[in-house]
């Protein structure tokens, strides 16, 4: 007490409950940072690949050719994500249905749209992974920290009740170590909340792009399906 209290001493001298709270918060902070960086990289990847794919898609390349390129990429061990996986799902379903001559153009398009919707859902699910965790860290860790602080202060005041001469010095270390818990809670919560808000808005942006792409692509497919069916009718 005579010497200055180091942060480490504060943590080590704390009561078990406070230490437990601190451990939880430390873990939460580390996990949330792991997820923040993970999500950051993932979103950056997804956006880059989306731009690349869009460019390729609208460059006038043959759709079957594009699909085959994707196959090659997948064979190389490249994971196909985002817009490309939506495209592949839609195109695969389209080509499968188009081979069945008893299905008319509407039914084919309906089928491929369904496949694309499924793929989009899956993409959104991938984008939103971990975000729930960030949100709950952001909203609960201040409370957890506060709990640790209240507990610690409670104890140090109880210690004060037992002494005859009440000085600030008898409670100050206890309060100080208890406050560390709140500080840690805030430290975990602030980045998590910021990251959650940012990532949530990015998920919105990306899924909007996917939806737009789905509509554009299905209009192209509709044109193709219609042309195919009329040609078949002419042949017959």
């Amino acid at each position: 007490m005579q010497e200055q209290l180091s942060l480490l001493d504060l943590v080590l001298d704390a009561s078990f409950t406070v230490q437990f709270v601190m451990a939880i918060l430390m873990l939460a902070s580390m996990l949330s940072w792991y997820m923040i960086v993970n999500r950051f990289l993932y979103f950056r990847n997804a956006q880059d690949e989306m731009y690349q794919f869009e460019e390729r898609f609208w460059s006038g390349v043959d759709l079957a050719q594009l699909y085959r390129e994707g196959n090659e990429k997948a064979a190389d061990g490249h994971v196909l994500l985002g817009m490309e996986s939506i495209f592949r799902a839609g195109f695969k379903e389209f080509s499968r249905l188009a081979q069945q001559s008893e299905m008319d153009a509407d039914a084919v398009i309906e089928g491929s749209r369904r496949a694309m919707r499924v793929a989009t859902m899956r993409e959104e699910e991938r984008l939103e992974r971990h975000l729930a965790f960030l949100a709950s860290v952001g909203s609960t860790s201040p409370y957890i920290g506060l709990f640790g602080t209240v507990w610690g202060i409670m104890h140090s005041f109880r210690g004060l009740a037992n002494t005859t001469q009440a000085t600030l010095a008898t409670v100050a270390p206890g309060i100080s170590e208890a406050l560390v818990a709140t500080a840690m809670g805030l430290f975990a919560a602030i980045p998590a909340v910021l990251a959650y808000n940012r990532f949530a808005s990015r998920v919105d942006v990306l899924s909007n792009r996917y939806d737009t792409f789905t509509d554009e692509f299905s209009s192209i497919l509709y044109r193709q399906a219609f042309a195919l069916r009329t040609r078949e009718k002419q042949v017959n």
Binding site: L5, V37, N38, Y42, N71, A74
Partner: protein, 249 residues
């Protein structure tokens, strides 16, 4: 290539970089926190890089006459704190105030002159020179009257030192070259809250005598006159070095 579009999606595994970033971030945070923590905590104990060591030795009264050191950079502040004489009687207030006043006058007298009269006659030049001189002298006097916070703290330190020395009963085993460093905590009323030995002299009797001296002194009520900022800075915790230099054996 899997056959179904409903197959389980394969997400790219992004693992190493996030883990690395997390560990680095938390490690850095811990490092800076612990480093800065001790620094801010240390400011209370160590006011200056050199610990405030007070050499407790018997001192002649004549040595304790106030030796005003004119500070070169001292600015003429009208609110100069009165310099408490080494005896730390706060009665000296009216004196410095009286001294401060004349400073303002020459200043105002000097300034308008050159403005009004671009050509200066010799008499006026002499007058200005005289005014300058008096101004300078007044300033010097004021500087002398102005007790800087450091000097004030030093005088209080000297006071504490003297009080403690008066109560100090050295054991017969005390020898020259022995040194006991004590950490003393005070509260603003001047009472001693705690005394601990920071560095023992190696002789328990000597250490105990030093602690006894501080405890007997008990309190330094004169410290109440010190502005609280100065008190916090210097006397909340300070160190006292006991060293029997005057012994001849």
């Amino acid at each position: 290539m899997n056959t179904s579009i409903y197959a389980k999606p394969v997400a790219p595994r992004i693992v190493y970089r996030p883990i690395l970033a997390t560990l680095v971030l938390h490690g850095l945070m811990l490092y800076f926190l612990t480093v800065n923590w001790t620094d801010t905590g240390g400011e209370v104990t160590r006011v200056k890089p050199v610990p405030r060591v007070i050499n407790a030795r018997l001192v002649d009264v004549s040595e304790f006459k106030p030796k005003p050191k004119p500070k070169p950079a001292a600015k003429p502040k009208a609110k100069a704190k009165p310099r408490p004489v080494a005896k730390a009687k706060p009665k000296s207030k009216p004196k410095p105030v009286a001294k401060v006043k004349p400073v303002a006058k020459p200043k105002t007298a000097v300034k308008p002159k050159p403005k009004a009269e671009p050509r200066i006659s010799e008499q006026e030049l002499a007058a200005i020179a005289r005014a300058d001189l008096s101004h300078a002298m007044a300033q010097e006097e004021q500087v002398q009257a102005t007790a800087t916070a450091d000097e004030m703290a030093a005088s209080f330190a000297a006071l504490i030192q003297q009080t403690v020395v008066n109560y100090w009963n050295r054991p017969p085993s005390a020898r020259n070259g022995m040194e006991a460093l004590l950490a003393i905590q005070l509260i603003p009323t001047g009472e001693v809250v705690s005394v601990t030995v920071l560095k023992s002299s190696g002789n328990t009797a000597f250490d105990r005598s030093a602690i006894n001296a501080v405890e007997k002194a008990g309190s330094f009520p004169e410290l109440q006159n010190l502005p609280s900022r100065e008190f916090e800075k210097t006397f909340r915790r300070f160190r006292l070095l006991f060293r029997p230099e005057d012994l001849r054996y």
